[in-house]
């Protein structure tokens, strides 16, 4: 009898992959809004996977930053540009099929190499990504990268404000 966590893993993995497919190749709609909403679902089910991996803080960050900020930004831009339904242009069949074939080959290579690799018997996982443990790491060993990342965010903000000025030189 599989543990409940295993059942949840299969549920969340299926949800992640299914919604990922719907982001990329939705057979019903070419509207970017639909893709964005399915991306939210992908992110949410992935945070479920994070919880199964005991990365509680990252699961929360995933929901807050990705579902809460990044996708909202995407939706804002889609509405701002007032994108219509993408008209169906003629797809170049040759290049599309070559691309899909290459992706299939890469996916097969990934899965095969993961399957063939014999991992040594790992110790029972006990690490927990709680806020206190991750925070202790961030503010001791990773203090310098942490500060650099905050500067990066500031720079990105200034860059975005400059880029969105009316008369972009």
């Amino acid at each position: 009898m599989p543990a409940t966590a295993d059942l949840f893993f299969y549920l969340f993995a299926f949800m992640t992959l299914f919604c990922g497919v719907m982001v990329v190749v939705n057979p019903f709609s070419r509207n970017p809004v639909t893709s964005a909403v399915f991306l939210v679902l992908t992110i949410l089910s992935m945070s479920g996977l994070f919880i199964l991996l005991h990365a509680f803080f990252l699961a929360a960050v995933q929901v807050i930053v990705y579902a809460g900020a990044v996708i909202v930004l995407f939706l804002f831009v889609i509405m701002l540009l007032d994108l219509k339904e993408e008209e169906r242009r003629k797809i170049k069949v040759v290049s599309a099929s070559i691309g899909s074939l290459a992706v299939l080959a890469i996916a097969g290579l990934f899965v095969k190499s993961i399957h063939e690799t014999r991992t040594a018997s790992l110790p029972l996982p006990f690490v927990e990504g709680t806020v206190s443990k991750l925070g202790a790491e961030l503010f001791t060993r990773f203090l310098l990268p942490f500060e650099i990342v905050s500067i990066l965010l500031l720079v990105a903000m200034i860059g975005v404000i400059l880029l969105s000025k009316k008369d972009l030189k």
Binding site: A13, V23, P32, F50, A107, E137, A156
Partner: protein
């Protein structure tokens, strides 16, 4: 439902490899999106999918190696991804203002 449960019970317990396979498939999906979709915004979303696939791999490695460094790395990746999305979307908006299109085939100025 019972049949599905019976089938599941014959599977090995979920380990590192299961998570890695999910991550690999998600990455391939993102790659496919970048290659076959022509809408620049959808391509950008596919890019996010690939980033998330890498995050999933890092978190599962961190869990099964009992080392928190992977999760710290994912924290930084999420931060950088947020900054990257903001800048990228601002660029797309600026581009749209100039060219009135979000379709990559119309943006071929650099093409020989």
């Amino acid at each position: 439902m019972i049949l599905a449960a019976a089938e599941l019970s014959s599977l090995p317990p979920v380990g590192l490899q299961h998570y890695l396979v999910v991550s690999a498939l998600l990455f391939s999906l993102g790659l496919l999106g970048v290659l076959v979709r022509r809408n620049i915004l959808v391509m950008y979303m596919s890019l996010e999918l690939m980033l998330n696939a890498a995050n999933l791999a890092l978190v599962s490695f961190s869990r099964f190696n009992n080392n928190l460094d992977g999760q710290v790395m994912v924290f930084f990746i999420i931060t950088v991804a947020a900054a990257e999305v903001a800048v990228g979307l601002a660029l797309i908006v600026a581009l749209y203002r100039k060219r009135q299109t979000a379709h990559v085939e119309d943006l071929a100025t650099l093409k020989l």
